[in-house]
Subunit: 338 residues, 4 copies
Amino acid sequence: MIRAAILGASGYVGGELLRLLARHPAIAATRLFGDSKAGQKLGQVHPHIAVPLADLTVERFDLAALDGIDLVLAALPHGESQKIAGAILEKGCKLVDLGADFRLHDPQDYAHWYGEPHQAPELLGRFVTGIPEFHRDAIRSAQAVAAAGCYPTATILALKPLVDAGLVDPASIIVDAASGVSGAGRGLKEGTSYNVVEGSFVAYGLLNHRHTAEMEQALGATILFTPHLAPMTRGILATCYATATRDMGPDEPLSVLRSAYADEPFVRVSNEPPATKWVAGSNGAVVTARYDPRTGRVVALGAIDNLGKGAAGQMIQCANLMTGLDEAAGLAAEGVFP
Amino acid sequence: MIRAAILGASGYVGGELLRLLARHPAIAATRLFGDSKAGQKLGQVHPHIAVPLADLTVERFDLAALDGIDLVLAALPHGESQKIAGAILEKGCKLVDLGADFRLHDPQDYAHWYGEPHQAPELLGRFVTGIPEFHRDAIRSAQAVAAAGCYPTATILALKPLVDAGLVDPASIIVDAASGVSGAGRGLKEGTSYNVVEGSFVAYGLLNHRHTAEMEQALGATILFTPHLAPMTRGILATCYATATRDMGPDEPLSVLRSAYADEPFVRVSNEPPATKWVAGSNGAVVTARYDPRTGRVVALGAIDNLGKGAAGQMIQCANLMTGLDEAAGLAAEGVFP
Amino acid sequence: MIRAAILGASGYVGGELLRLLARHPAIAATRLFGDSKAGQKLGQVHPHIAVPLADLTVERFDLAALDGIDLVLAALPHGESQKIAGAILEKGCKLVDLGADFRLHDPQDYAHWYGEPHQAPELLGRFVTGIPEFHRDAIRSAQAVAAAGCYPTATILALKPLVDAGLVDPASIIVDAASGVSGAGRGLKEGTSYNVVEGSFVAYGLLNHRHTAEMEQALGATILFTPHLAPMTRGILATCYATATRDMGPDEPLSVLRSAYADEPFVRVSNEPPATKWVAGSNGAVVTARYDPRTGRVVALGAIDNLGKGAAGQMIQCANLMTGLDEAAGLAAEGVFP
Amino acid sequence: MIRAAILGASGYVGGELLRLLARHPAIAATRLFGDSKAGQKLGQVHPHIAVPLADLTVERFDLAALDGIDLVLAALPHGESQKIAGAILEKGCKLVDLGADFRLHDPQDYAHWYGEPHQAPELLGRFVTGIPEFHRDAIRSAQAVAAAGCYPTATILALKPLVDAGLVDPASIIVDAASGVSGAGRGLKEGTSYNVVEGSFVAYGLLNHRHTAEMEQALGATILFTPHLAPMTRGILATCYATATRDMGPDEPLSVLRSAYADEPFVRVSNEPPATKWVAGSNGAVVTARYDPRTGRVVALGAIDNLGKGAAGQMIQCANLMTGLDEAAGLAAEGVFP
């Protein structure tokens, strides 16, 4: 078994990683770090986790505790990974980092969108972008992977083949997306309390959501991105608009997606607009697209589970590749539906 | 008391009209028509309605039953009103129609978007558009009003002052909106069953939703409109994008909205993105807007309750105006929150 | 207009009081007290409240600010009202208190269930129990009313006529109830965060919930009470079990309820089990009951909105009575459905 | 691979079976029967199922199609299995039946609760009750298993060890349970439409729910059972009350449960009341219990996913045992949380 340590084990992504690893055939979660819940049994922290994992104790992070660890899965607030990534890599561990710290190639972009200078710009070049559908070979041979964010994953899966095929103008992209509440993390906020969220739909982060930078980098585009909070726990749907570069058949964008993802184990191309629940609790993604001759625009949609393909699932998918395992080991493409 | 008849009394809009009229100081629901539930007591049809209304019987529609009726509130499937509107007006009743039948001024537009010829094009000129914020005086003196649709109301409230002020290019508009499930009506469909909807977010009606025509007419615009179904019963949020016609301060669109709605009893202008729940169960609307210098676009948002300001509330607001009552009689701007 | 002050204006009950008073014909909210949000405009504290109320400022409580106030509506954490009730009554204000402080007649009961001695036992005798259906005349002439709790209101409405008629053994009662999350208040807790609550049903307060005492007092009974948290914002359903004192027809309990509530404006007796949504957002209540010859037990059910008939609605109903207004002024029996 | 056929493949239990078998290491779904969707690709019927399963075609049931099938998993409406079970067993297939047809040992009980005579009483003796925790050895050697119902599974897991230990009086049991909406199946009904269910809690089947018989048989008890519909898709919580046979420590029932389930892979005993979401999407169950000296009663709670341990999960657990596989193969105890 590959011995894995989880950083940020007490958060929602940590909990999802543990749920997946509890049934993973070849990776075992052996050390769990989470400062805010250090000292507690995992079963107290995550009520869905059963024994034997539930009996492990969450620890305060300590580099020495990584001795014997093969793989580090980090789900930390931004700014935290860059403090410790160097030392982790030094120890020879493979690292899949879900934070924002190593996603943007240019440290100036990080400084601009996150409002603080990058602490480890010299490491940026060592991180491969963690979307296997577009970076599979690089991930296989990487020591460090920066797993993509949830909104970017849904958006990039829907749009990148269309941009690469030259069907849409990258300067014209609008991404309007809705996320489940788990995307906001486990911290308590009035805006994520049940009473405020149930039966309500709201936009947030108007014009300045940080995931914009990651989308623009991946697509070589200028993007206006509006995230929304939907009254659901899991799921992201990205509805993307772009000006077509030429007239085309209404289904031509769909054909491009079908070609792009023909052999992908986790991405389905659908004729119908996908519902997020089709992939809830899974590592699956569903995309579709069509051309509107009336307005000259392409609409492309991508649905994922923000904690699955948008976080923990994609991390495991990357880890499987990095460790030479079957890419799909321990992962499902089938959503928990209904 | 003004004596009102309700057509389509057994549907969700009918139920909301009855809830509102149960406490209305000057309009009484006296005849209830609903073919599918004809013969049943209203209390069986709408479990939320209390006596004395609950003891009324739903009837099959009959023109003679309108004798003595001052006001007809019609919430029928499209195509139905046009068969009977002429006779209703003939009888001297005032009519507020929520269907699509009399919203589009040009019968060719109706034929194009609804796939069938209009049955009463000669009546189109007698209907005033039922958005009081923009047609108040005309509504006051009208015998017939075509209340606006739910998506169009949210969209038009958010965008029309910006279009009218010349801030945005009407040919560039994208409307991305999410609706609660009650917007789909009371008929049983798998797509509106609880198990399918809970925890899921999905787009529908891609590129061809019929409300597009109504928005385009009201705004003199070309619009790409994508509706979504959100896991909530009530509420619409329209997130609207348009290319700005010039550079401006980020809050200039907000100022335009503030001026436009300064004296409106039901429209609030918010600095923050509005949540649909702020106006759930009410006739209120909340709008906001801002300019993004980075992409040269304006984002405008409008939130309403699709059954309130998007249907029954707006119908009553129009009826109040048509009958010389206080425009706000029997209506609230305050949402049922949380 | 009767001038009302609200204590606890920033909580959920405070917000519901303000929503109701915004459209109340004869009671105006003129002073708003809420220590945690003191200094903020009401519109910031409660996003559903429109102008002119939204422009009022929330104040820190000060006895002098009650000059000119006719009516105090208090929705405070337990233990708070007893510190100030004496002074409020001294000033001649009428007082409707929703806290637990003055519900239990015997200060020993308060000490036992709340774990602290009562600070103003001499005032207990001045408070009338605030369930108008059973204490209407006393409320009319009272200066001080202790509005009943949410679970007790649902339970007492369902059971009291059956106990009073001698149909059930008061020593045998089990109350199994489910509440919406707003019953837990506005404070942030992991257990009321959206992610934890959505799609989940859970019991809490096993064997020792404090509302037990209030139910037992009102019914002269011994009660085992199990509250549950249901994934909804509003609503309480109390499902009550008791051993029948004799054999009877299956509908005899229903008949007793029908007689008891024949003239009540807010209580409906239903043949079918009521759904909480029938009365959501309203002051309505629905009850039903039947006898099970197979097990010799009576099952009685009561549904209310915990913020309506279980809190703010009932407070206003009491205040209407105390001030000589129409008991139903500003209140609806019709739920916001669907 | 063990070749399995699914009867009722187009329903929700069928969909859950397919989701589980899609990742099962040793059982493959090879033939899918579902009359209402016969001829459709599975991917159309169940949008969460990915290829290769999605490419299978749903067939009309035909006995000949069972040639070469090792295992039949039947999730049919009651009354259907009894028509075909004999022939299925004749062919040598192992059969796990989830319907009610073979759960009640006495055909008179079936006739009484289901209102029709049993069509195959001679087969009743060949079916073993499908709760592995109590019938593991019999299941291992059985050709036919009648998997327990969802409410009975939650109830029996919570109560049976306490009844068996003599702690509670079996004649005194009340079961008050709440279920997610998927328990009502995939058929369209107003009562399971989104608009009606969201934000609402309601009892149903008062005094006469058919699962009562199965609970009474398993516990040797007389039971008053009240099911409720909670606004969630999955999950059952059974809150069970019984009169204690003697005074005891408050945690004695908990100790009994701990002993009973010490070695169980899917049943956890919790100090705290379990939430249904802890086991959503999984085959896990969580139980707890305590004694109330004040009322002399024991309260016991059991939480499961009605589609997991209450249906498809338990069917697979039984099938694993019947086919000599690891009992936990293809199953998780960890819920999809949050």
